[in-house]
């Protein structure tokens, strides 16, 4: 235990710097992942066959291959893009942007399935009733189905966010100095890996507990505004 405290006392800047990167990348990814997820979900429930087939394929591929493989494919496939140079909160943009793209595309597939399941959980009779009242399909979605689906969707999206925070740890492989990357630096300088991993585990856990609490409060607010 004392070694854990010792190492943290001596190397805390590394852990904090890494944590900051992990938080920033997670937040940005969660945002774009939700965006991608909404678009894919829309395509998925579209009545136009080619669009829904594309969305289905997208979801199958992105959920059926390892995130790390996707990360490398995106990194090398998109190497023709000239990403903006410079840094944001100590993170090199040219490296982190492909990571965010890969993570968002991956997260989008899961979010899309969450949204679709949430929509399907709203009983179809209400859709038929809305249509029979003269509503168009978008009016029915907007006024009747989505307000109910959101209650199924938000908790599941919360879980997806928590997963995302943990999964960002793979971006260390592209040399992004996130929490795990900095963990590696400390391991190399102390020759004492176990305490370092305990520290990182604690930090991830703390992040996700805070995130979980935040989501809980958000859900409560939402429920209160319902009635």
């Amino acid at each position: 235990m004392s070694t854990v405290a010792n190492i943290f006392a001596n190397y805390y800047q590394y852990f904090l710097r890494g944590t900051r990167t992990t938080i920033v990348v997670s937040l940005v990814t969660v945002f774009f992942g939700a965006l991608v997820g909404c678009v894919i979900a829309l395509l998925r429930i579209s009545k136009f066959k080619p669009l829904s087939a594309f969305a289905k394929l997208y979801i199958t591929v992105l959920r059926g291959t390892p995130l790390l493989v996707q990360l490398y494919i995106v990194y090398y496939q998109l190497n023709f893009i000239h990403y903006p140079s410079g840094q944001f909160l100590g993170v090199e943009l040219a490296r982190v942007i492909p990571c965010i793209i890969a993570l968002s595309l991956n997260s989008g597939a899961y979010v899309a399935e969450i949204i679709r399941a949430g929509i399907q959980a709203v009983d179809f009779g209400q859709t038929e009733a809305a249509l029979s009242c003269g509503m168009t399909y978008p009016q029915c979605m907007w006024n009747i189905v989505l307000p109910q689906a959101i209650k199924n969707i938000l908790p599941a999206i919360g879980n997806e966010f928590v997963t995302m925070v943990k999964e960002t740890s793979i971006i260390q492989y592209l040399g992004i100095s996130d929490l795990m990357y900095n963990n590696g630096i400390v391991v190399t300088s102390t020759y004492n890996p176990l305490p370092c991993y305990y520290i990182s585990a604690l930090i991830y856990l703390t992040l996700n507990i805070v995130l979980g609490k935040g989501l809980n409060i958000f859900e409560m607010r939402l429920k209160q505004s319902e009635r």
Binding site: G125, A130, S132, C133, G134, Q139, N143, R227
Partner: protein, 248 residues
């Protein structure tokens, strides 16, 4: 052509995949008629009335509503449905909306009626079915009978030219059947045109101006309530009636 014809249905067919559920139905439904559809389970009664507001897309034949071919590409289903109210077996109230909003939502979103006007109209209709005091409740707080009366009000709010009922009392506890049938009976006596699928034979006999007996995707027999209930000609009608009357 008779100017009072609302629905002119010609050779209506509906397939679900390989299965032909409606095998050619010819009917004219006139303004002011109360058409009651009876028949065994699976005979196609629901499919038939769902075709009338295009919740099912017919696969053959023609349906004219007020002279307009509703199956043509030019007809917008949502505009047709504004003129055709529908009440479902499972009520299908909007669970995210209060009773009042259940009734006003289509007035506001579809008819673009101002909020206050929609509210006044809804409250007047709710008062007629004795539910004005439940305007701020949510569907989950209501009994089945109350839900169905509100579903009827919701459909009536758009001033439809015809009302469709698909077994409106089948999902209700027995003690609530009466309150719902009374509302439908009142509408009938006010001259609202309606097509009602029901297993309530007493109700059918009382309110129907015409009874259709469906069997195997066709209308096997039709006539006045007296003709169908007292002197059925078709053996299948006789058989069906003997079974349902025995049950009661």
């Amino acid at each position: 052509m008779n100017g009072n014809v609302l629905f002119d249905i010609q050779g209506l067919k509906k397939n679900f995949g390989e299965v032909e559920v409606l095998k050619g139905i010819d009917q004219k439904i006139e303004k002011g008629e109360v058409v009651v559809v009876i028949g065994p389970s699976g005979s196609g009664k629901s499919t038939f009335i769902r075709c009338l507001n295009l919740l099912e897309e017919p696969t053959g034949g023609k349906i004219f509503f007020e002279g307009v071919d509703i199956m043509s590409k030019e007809t917008r289903a949502n505009l047709h449905r504004e003129k055709v109210g529908m009440v479902f077996q499972q009520f299908n109230l909007f669970n995210n909306l209060s009773v009042l909003d259940n009734v006003t939502v289509s007035l506001r979103k579809v008819k673009k009626m101002p909020e206050q006007q929609a509210k006044d109209k809804a409250m007047a209709l709710l008062a007629r079915v004795g539910l004005a005091d439940r305007a701020d409740s949510y569907p989950s707080q209501l009994s089945g009978g109350q839900k169905q009366r509100i579903a009827i009000v919701r459909a009536m709010a758009l001033d439809p030219d015809v009302m469709l009922f698909d077994e409106p009392t089948s999902a209700l506890d027995p003690e609530m059947v009466g309150e719902v049938l009374k509302v439908i009976r009142d509408l009938a006596s006010e001259g609202v045109t309606m097509v009602v699928v029901t297993h309530e034979m007493g109700f059918a006999r009382n309110v129907a101006t015409r009874v259709l007996f469906m069997d195997g995707g066709v209308i096997a027999e039709e006539g006045t309530p007296e003709q169908i209930f007292d002197h059925p000609q078709n053996p299948r009608t006789q058989d069906f009636l003997s079974k349902v009357i025995n049950v009661i």
